[in-house]
Amino acid sequence: MIDLLMTPLEHAFFLRALAAAIIVGTVCAVVGTYVVLKGLAFIGDAISHAAFPGVVVAFLVHGPYLLGAGVAAVATALSIGVVSRRARIRTDTAIGVLFAGTFALGIFLFSTINGYVADLFSFLFGYLLSTSVDDLISLTILAGLVLGAVAVLWKELLYATFDPLGASASGLRVDWLESIFLALVALTIVISLQAVGIILVVAMLVTPAATAQLLVVRFGRMMALAIAVGIASSVVGLYLSYWVDAASGATIVLVETGAFLGALALGPRTGLLGRRRPAAVAEAQAQQA
């Protein structure tokens, strides 16, 4: 058993992949907590698909993929709001249009490249084990940026998420916070692209936070538990994929999905096994009745 855990660690590529998985798991859980509470899972999916043309363009001009993906993702994130306001259409309609349009642009550009391009293809599904030292440095810087921004703005983001009207009326710039937050979602997706790929990145963002929401009823605990679920799933998933020689991104997402289903089955409020409730909730309900 010890060997099973220690042997992969002898490979430098596995250590780099493990470090990347932990960074991605942490950042996704932190930002994902707000994404889940805001009900923005669909926007996360749209932004991740919109990063694709950026990656292809970066590949075509031999630029850094993180820059290409970052510019495309942030631009799409910010234009969703502008398009829905200008065109006076519902936000989900604006997302649907931009989501499909930008992804189509990516496929169009991709199809003009002659021959099979393995590097680019891995962005659709992720390939953690190819993480380089340079990748790791970029990931760490971007992750620091996102976590730093949340550390500064966590309570403003919390108030604006919970009660946007009350927050706006009391002087918080809710419109700015919204734009900053969408940019953070875009950066988080860029950070996660190499780990799980464009198609599955929304799971990294949403599933750990959704799992935590099933189990706890306080914001701080929800985020802490989401981080724990995110990191644990990334590590377990990476090991599993190594042992059975499967795609690392898909394995990590499967582990997260398993954790969610487990929480759903065993959780105190949704659990199928018994009707146990936390003391605080039960007490409050007794007082209400």
Binding site: F162, A167, A169, S170
Partner: protein, 337 residues
């Protein structure tokens, strides 16, 4: 204001005793450049009478305001001045523009025409001195925050992004929770509170912000009689301290008994003045149109079939999960379905 019964009956300036201002508010009634016979007793400010005077005295001042959503007009021709220290009820039928009026004052929406000033500045600029409490239906009660967390949010704008809540903030939160008798629930998740307890918590959040102007959307809707009395006692005390309290309500009995002044609206201002003068059957039938029955001399019964709330306000009536939506609240809904 030709159809204003208060202005029409010669009662344009109504005086009441005890209109003194709390010393903690920087206010000089002589700061504006014209004389007035008896500022200290002045209570009613009719904008049509002397607009400069009304504006100088008002904490909240609207001039020729129209507003709406998309291409639908919700309010027009609104001229109103609310003096500091007022306890004002905004009444009117469902969809009359009550919430819109409050959102204009809170700076949440901009008027199509006209001007909205709060505390002497365009609405929204003095936001940290204003506390706004939305309708209960607009809040996600499943959100993972406790009573203490919600009340602490009232302190966030003044703290700014880089400061964490200090002992001073925690004391303010504890004091506000004490005022609304919710101190023992500080660790309770908001979803497990009753409707009355939820309104208490949101009023505590407003109190914790220590504002000069309270803008409350339906603060006593769907709460039990005890909670209504407690909340009104608190609001009355704030008004006595010189704070301005403006609340929408469907409860005409509460408006009549607990508010000094009433603003009756139905897309336009129907009447504005002391509760006893505005809440008469003539004004109310013009405010509520066909939804009002006049019984005998002064008893009125609301027959507002479209509305989701009992007008008496004595029955519990909650909307779990935000399922309710009318014309006004749907435009303010924060989630995209």
């Amino acid at each position: 204001m030709a159809d204003d019964p208060i202005a029409g009956n010669g009662g344009r300036v109504v005086t009441t005793a005890g209109a003194t201002r709390a010393p903690d508010r920087a206010f000089d009634p002589h700061a504006h450049p014209h004389a007035h016979p008896d500022e200290r007793r002045l209570r009613t400010v009719e904008p049509g009478l002397d607009s400069g005077h009304a504006r100088a005295h008002a904490d909240v001042w609207l001039s020729d305001v129209s507003a709406g959503y998309g291409d639908r007009i919700a309010l027009e021709d609104v001229n109103v001045a609310v003096e500091a220290g007022s306890l004002l009820a905004v009444v009117g039928p469902n969809g009359a523009g009550k919430s819109t009026l409050l959102k204009l004052m809170a700076g949440l929406i901009r008027p199509w025409t006209g001007r909205v000033e709060v505390l002497g500045h365009p609405a929204g600029q003095q936001a940290r001195r204003v506390a706004y409490v939305p309708q209960a239906e607009l809040v996600d009660w499943a959100f993972p925050v406790t009573v203490g967390d919600v009340v602490m949010m009232g302190r966030y704008p003044a703290l700014g992004p880089f400061r964490r809540p200090s002992a001073v903030d925690r004391r303010a939160v504890a004091a506000a929770l004490d005022q609304v008798s919710m101190a023992s629930h500080v660790e309770t998740q908001i979803g497990s509170l009753s409707g009355g307890q939820r309104r208490r918590v949101f009023l505590a959040r407003a109190l914790a912000a220590e504002p000069d102007v309270f803008l409350l959307d339906e603060p006593v809707t769907g709460v039990d009689a005890t909670t209504q009395e407690d909340l009104m006692d608190l609001l009355e005390a704030e008004a006595r301290r010189g704070k301005t309290v403006i609340a929408t309500t469907h409860d005409l009995a509460c408006a009549a008994q607990r508010f000094q002044r009433v603003l009756a609206i139905n897309h336009r201002i129907v009447a504005h003045g002391p509760a006893s003068l505005v809440l008469d059957p003539g004004v109310l039938s013009r405010t509520y149109g066909g939804h009002l029955l006049v019984l005998g001399g002064d008893a009125v019964v609301l027959d507002d079939a479209h509305h989701h709330d009992e007008p008496s306000g004595r029955e519990r009536h909650f909307h779990e999960g935000g399922g309710h939506s009318d014309g006004q609240s749907s435009t303010a809904s924060r989630r995209t379905p």
